[in-house]
């Protein structure tokens, strides 16, 4: 009976739960059979936006697809959010950042392989939010994992003009 949800609610749940914008194709791909047409999806999104008139959020279209975003006018309160999440200062945070900086472009899988532990998605999200890293593409391998790289903002923050100003990988033995 879970098969009987209305299209607009399925789209709503997907936009809400996705951590990145969803293209029309992404949305169509949620369905195994009876895939909705792009027009049907667009219509459902319009419907959703109408129903969000009295909410604080809306569906908007950005370069890579649709996402749910908070409407303007809430910054006063929201700027106080997430001020200090413990993950930001952790060893895991630094190590993840450092691996992206030195080995870029890397996938999460690469980071996991190097560190030997699962990557905390929160850390990646934080790094993207600071605009220290960004997704520069997708690797051609199963699941098309995202390729992460550092940004100019990252260099600015550490007062570097280019990555080659980073401390050299150093005199660690070459195995």
């Amino acid at each position: 009976m879970s098969q009987s949800k209305p299209l607009h609610l399925i789209i709503e749940s997907a936009l809400m739960a996705a951590h990145e914008p969803l293209s029309l194709q992404d949305i169509a791909n949620l369905f195994d059979e009876k895939k909705p047409s792009k027009n049907q999806i667009k219509k459902a999104i319009e419907e959703l936006n109408l129903s969000y008139k009295k909410n604080s959020f809306e569906v908007i279209l950005v370069a890579s697809g649709y996402r749910i975003q908070i409407k303007n006018g809430f910054d006063t309160w929201l700027s106080k959010l997430n001020k200090q999440s413990s993950t930001r200062y952790s060893k895991a945070f630094l190590e993840t950042l450092v691996i992206i900086a030195y080995k870029q472009p890397v996938t999460r899988g690469d980071i996991e392989e190097i560190r030997g532990v699962t990557v905390n998605p929160q850390i990646i999200r934080n790094l993207i939010e600071f605009e220290w890293i960004k997704v520069v593409g997708h690797k051609e391998s199963p699941g098309k994992p995202e390729l992460l790289a550092t940004t100019k903002k990252f260099l600015d923050y550490f007062n570097l003009t280019s990555l080659s100003d980073l401390p050299p990988p150093g005199e660690m033995e070459v195995q």
Binding site: I70, S79, I114, F130, G137, S162, S164, P169, M172, V174
Partner: protein, 261 residues
């Protein structure tokens, strides 16, 4: 393969069992798989007990010990690297067995059942094993529950970033390197950071523009070194299957595009 002792009669809860359970016969190549299924000697023991439909509190030490030891022997015959925990358990079982065979005449107390400690451990372990199965079924984030998050609206986030200085980064990197051989000898020489950086820049440009012209990756200003860096970056990306190089006919424009597109 397995040294079956069919002549040994085993008496369980008053019932005579003449056959070793079928699941003791293991094709040799399946042995590794089977051992990996067990989380240790207690798990293996529980399995042996369960297969016979016996209560843990009634654990028949003799047959179970025999079966257990057969497993261990088999594994050793196969030159299987056996965790020492399994051997410790084997000797514990042997000890209990010998105590059972030579009953202490001084006391008939149930309290002094030589199996008592083992039974207690088995029950304790069984409890957590079952709980872990329950936990595995519990509603779990991103499998059963989906949280609404990651909505990156355009907020001004002030002094949001943590304060970190460069030396911390360096330390973190040293630490990482100590644990992993990321800069193995084959790439430490050829692949400088400026190449990795250039790879990111070109990928980003491909992401923004779809397909880009090969020549647009080079800028006059950077001179020969810049051109070399760019060229190495492109080669490296082709090698890592991150991008494809396209040229429709000889001498025509060369384009770069993402392999994932």
């Amino acid at each position: 393969m397995l040294d079956t002792n069919k002549n040994n009669l085993i008496i369980l809860n008053g019932t005579t069992i003449t056959d070793i359970p079928d699941d003791l016969f293991i094709p040799p190549d399946a042995l590794r798989v089977i051992l990996e299924q067990f989380e240790g000697p207690l798990d293996l023991l529980l399995y042996l007990i369960k297969k016979q439909n016996i209560d843990v509190v009634d654990i028949p030490i003799l047959p179970i010990t025999n079966q257990y030891v057969e497993y261990i022997n088999l594994m050793q015959q196969m030159h299987f690297e056996l965790a020492s925990d399994y051997l410790v358990m084997a000797s514990t079982l042997a000890e209990i067995k010998s105590k059972m065979l030579v009953p202490n005449e001084n006391d008939e107390d149930e309290e002094d059942d030589p199996r008592a400690n083992l039974i207690k451990r088995l029950m304790e372990y069984q409890k957590y094993k079952e709980l872990s199965l329950k936990l595995d079924d519990a509603p779990r984030l991103n499998r059963d529950t989906f949280v609404v998050s990651g909505i990156l609206a355009k907020f001004e986030r002030k002094d949001d970033a943590p304060s970190i200085d460069l030396s911390q980064l360096e330390l973190a990197f040293q630490e990482v390197l100590r644990r992993a051989e990321i800069f193995a000898s084959h790439n430490i020489q050829s692949e400088t950071l400026s190449v990795r950086e250039r790879m990111s820049l070109i990928l980003d440009s491909i992401k923004e523009n779809g397909t880009i012209k090969f020549i647009d990756c080079f800028t006059h200003k950077e001179g020969k070194m810049g051109a070399i860096v760019t060229f190495l970056a492109i080669l490296e990306m082709v090698k890592e299957s991150l991008i494809d190089i396209i040229q429709n006919e000889d001498y025509s424009m060369i384009y770069l595009q993402s392999s994932a597109s």
